[in-house]
């Protein structure tokens, strides 16, 4: 039972970390920064929280596989839709994990890739977030708890706010970086 508790807790924490990472990525790309919150803080948090997310995600997956009640095929950690238990919902989680793993690996090797290649892969970040949310809402043991729904709603609001703000900036005529006009 302890394993399943850990699966539930780390799953939700991983999703919150993913939300913050995505929001920081969006605000960083939108060039948010001030003298009190330098841009390197956003960039550093984006990087370090994403690595923390991988840690929680690893525990989430390990405890899920080790739990004897569900007896999920270990291959389901990497290959989507091969789990006997809740094939579809677990598969969504696998897809989100594969996407996040690809993002982290390409980002760690970023200086060895071309900027275009890295960036093309990094756009996947946007896909991993809704897939992870869908996975949590679909199969989360606690997904129906009001406070957890509220937490998920807050995560959705954070990402929507960051995206709306970014898109509004993109829609404006391009300002010269650092300019005052």
């Amino acid at each position: 039972m302890l394993l399943w508790y850990m699966t539930r807790a780390t799953g939700e924490i991983a999703f919150m970390l993913l939300t913050i990472t995505v929001a920081l990525g969006i605000t960083g790309a939108a060039r948010l920064g001030s003298s009190r919150w330098p841009r390197v803080v956003t960039a550093g948090l984006h990087r370090n929280l994403s690595l923390m997310l991988v840690t929680f995600l690893s525990v989430h997956i390990a405890t899920t596989l080790l739990d004897t009640f569900t007896a999920i095929n270990p291959a389901a950690a990497i290959i989507p839709f091969v789990s006997g238990y809740r094939t579809f919902w677990v598969g969504l989680g696998t897809i989100a994990f594969d996407l996040i793993l690809t993002l982290v690996i390409t980002s760690l090797l970023r200086s060895r890739l071309s900027y275009r290649a890295w960036r093309a892969v990094h756009v996947l970040a946007y896909a991993s977030w809704p897939v992870a949310l869908w996975h949590g809402l679909g199969t989360g043991t606690d997904a129906k708890l009001p406070w957890l729904l509220a937490l998920d709603a807050l995560c959705v609001l954070v990402v929507i706010a960051a995206m709306t703000w970014r898109l509004r900036l993109l829609a404006q005529p391009r300002r010269i970086a650092g300019g005052t006009s």
């Binding site: 960039a43 970086a177 650092g178």
Partner: protein, 77 residues
């Protein structure tokens, strides 16, 4: 061997993270693009590397880095 920073002016998008991380050698011009010092002293190697890896556009390079050759060959400016 002296270390030198190079910026790819086409790739640089003026994010300005490099100047936040390495103000000793990088200043931003009035449009937010970096102006680089002629050379980087050895004591700032670690900071220079961080500035290079932080560049969101991968536009900054460090050359003359004596170990591991992370800076790669000098680019024509």
């Amino acid at each position: 061997m002296t270390m030198k920073l190079h910026v790819d002016p086409i790739a640089c998008a003026g994010h300005g993270l490099c100047a936040e991380l390495l103000p000793e050698a990088i200043e931003l011009d009035e449009w937010g693009y970096p102006m680089l010092a002629a050379s980087v002293p050895a004591r700032l190697r670690g900071h220079a590397r961080r500035a290079v890896s932080a560049c969101p556009a991968l536009a900054l390079r460090l050359t003359g880095n004596d170990d591991r050759g992370e800076g790669g060959p000098a680019r024509a400016q």
